[in-house]
Subunit: 355 residues, 2 copies
């Protein structure tokens, strides 16, 4: 790891000693930054921005220029894989992601195939390579994908959902079709993350945004089992460097023991889980990433700092063993005051050095 100027993030993920708790923020390159909004305007649509390697690189680096963040994350979307499968991803203004051609008929499901990431997702690999060059070994670069279950939710619902009625009806009524979607998607996500690793991603994260909508039994069957297969299929090393992975099921705090058992290096936690209790439950099997409530960034600066210290203290001492990566429990809100992000990042570094 000696080639990296700052490898604190990777060391914490691998539970090695660190001087302070590393921090990065989900969606750290985003609309709360005026410079992001400028670049986005030049790019056209959100997808145009994702597909332009130069602009994707530019926005990836923007938060690092402002704040002392310990990792960069590829600027992209969790739904690139189903887009590459032909479902037609688009973003209706102010509405979130949607698919032009959601899965409706049995034959469409039978016909699904895993895309070759180096062909159909070439633009992502190009962005990863360009960002790595631009980072110049300052901090590590995180690659990512949505989880099979989360991708399937969007593929069947056609967009976000309050109740997941269509996809859950399929899961309960026609589990055979559901499993067919999940199997193809699992192969696709595995290939996709491995291609990102080969292009230069130094850690990878699986975003299971909607796993928490399931019962524990259904979560194991439709989400966790498939993430386990992905983790088992991931390249663990590239050019002699370990590539740690993080699994984040939003709303999955009740299932930490079973998540820790799938062989991942770290578990992402939303803010509903107490870090200290989580640590007791998973022992030294995995590192933990999280879990500041993004809404607490809307308070005054002193309250932001106080809540950051509370989250750090809830984990307990971590410098000797690493094991804690500070993050939000969900993506940063677009209306977040940028000056509070600085308070958060600086407080994490200062308070964890002192601990």
């Amino acid at each position: 790891m000696s080639h990296l100027k700052n490898d604190t993030f990777l060391r914490a993920l691998m539970r090695q000693p660190v001087d302070y708790t590393p921090v990065w923020l989900m969606r750290q390159a985003g609309r709360y930054l005026p410079e992001y909004c400028e670049t986005r305007k030049r790019a056209g649509s959100f997808l145009d921005l994702c597909k332009n390697r130069h602009l994707a690189c530019e926005v990836t680096l923007q938060p690092l220029a402002r704040y002392n963040l310990d990792a960069a994350i590829l600027f992209s979307d969790i739904l690139t894989v189903p887009d590459a499968m032909g479902l037609g991803l688009y973003f209706a203004e102010g509405e979130g992601p949607r698919f032009e051609r959601p899965l409706k008929d049995e034959w469409e499901i039978r016909d699904l195939t895993a895309p070759d990431p180096n062909v159909h997702l070439r633009y992502v690999m190009d962005a990863v390579s360009e960002i790595r060059r631009a980072l110049d070994n300052s901090v590590p670069l995180i690659g990512f994908s949505g989880s099979p279950w989360t991708l399937a939710c969007y593929m069947v619902e056609g967009g976000g959902s309050d109740d997941y009625r269509k996809v859950k009806t399929m899961a309960y009524d026609r589990p055979d079709l559901m499993h067919r979607i999940l199997e193809v998607t699992t192969q696709a996500v595995t290939d996709y993350l491995n291609a990102q690793i080969e292009s230069g991603a130094q850690a990878v994260m699986i975003f299971d945004s909607w796993g928490g909508a399931l019962s524990h039994a259904a979560y194991r069957e439709f989400s966790l089992d498939y993430m386990q297969r992905i983790v088992a299929g991931l390249k663990r090393e590239h050019h002699g460097q370990r590539i740690p992975n993080i699994v984040f099921t939003k709303g999955g705090g009740q299932w930490l023991e079973s998540i820790a058992n799938i062989g991942c290096d770290a578990i992402g936690l939303d803010w509903t889980t107490d870090l200290g209790e989580a640590r007791k439950r998973v022992g030294d099997r995995v590192a933990l990433q999280g879990n500041f409530d993004p809404m607490a960034l809307f308070a005054n600066a002193e309250s932001v700092a106080k809540e950051a210290r509370r989250v750090l203290d809830s984990f307990g001492p971590s410098n000797d063993t690493g094991g804690h990566v500070f993050n939000l429990g969900h993506g940063i809100n677009q209306f977040t005051p940028p000056e509070n992000v600085r308070v958060l990042v600086d407080t994490v570094h200062e308070h964890s050095r002192r601990k």
Copy 2:
């Protein structure tokens, strides 16, 4: 309890022996029933229906005429208390509840007072009395209210929210104002539930629909502590009968131990919590109510029955000790096929008699 023809629900809540697992469904009187839609049409708005004791009684009894349910629940809304405080509850078609005058200014919060339920919520008490007469001691009647935190969410946001930005900003930025709202609301909910008990409610339930949006620390401070005060202030007996209470925090599965400690009789669970694990965690301190995923009612009849049996089996044997009330993990969806509700209710009774 001998005056009730069917007291299985109350016995299960008090962890006494039962012949089978009792079942009722959150929002069992609702839009999935054609006869409800007919009555609703006659009433005018949803609030007109709540405020008409004869029609509220009529719709309360409708699901009992169709299915072998073991309890009735007052037809009303969780937000009647802030409406009685003067915030102006209304329902925009297809949009959920909203307030005409959400809390914005500090003086409005300082001016809040707890309404006298026998004056300002007289229509609820009249409905409770009328429903009790109509039930004629067939099954028990459940009264209810929203929790202080959940009421505060609506009172500050002005309606539902994806991210609770306004109310969380207040909680983190001005906790003094947040606590002022919660204190008044706690007094109001306590008075309101006690008035329902005096009017004839034989069990009461507190719906903490949005407690699960908080961190564990914030949940204790802004939601659980206030529910504890309510539970401590509830009448435990009326006319010599014990009045059990149920606390339901949607998304609160991680915090069962602390919920069990507030002195409630039962905890409501959504479908993300495994009943068997929950039982191990709370021991014999409380009964458990739940937790079938309402979306599983959209599958074929055999899958509905299978999932019902899985939920029953996950709790384990319960007839000797009671302790399990079967329910959904959330209100029934308006598009639910009514014939599947019959399959669910009958399967619960048959399978639990056999266990």
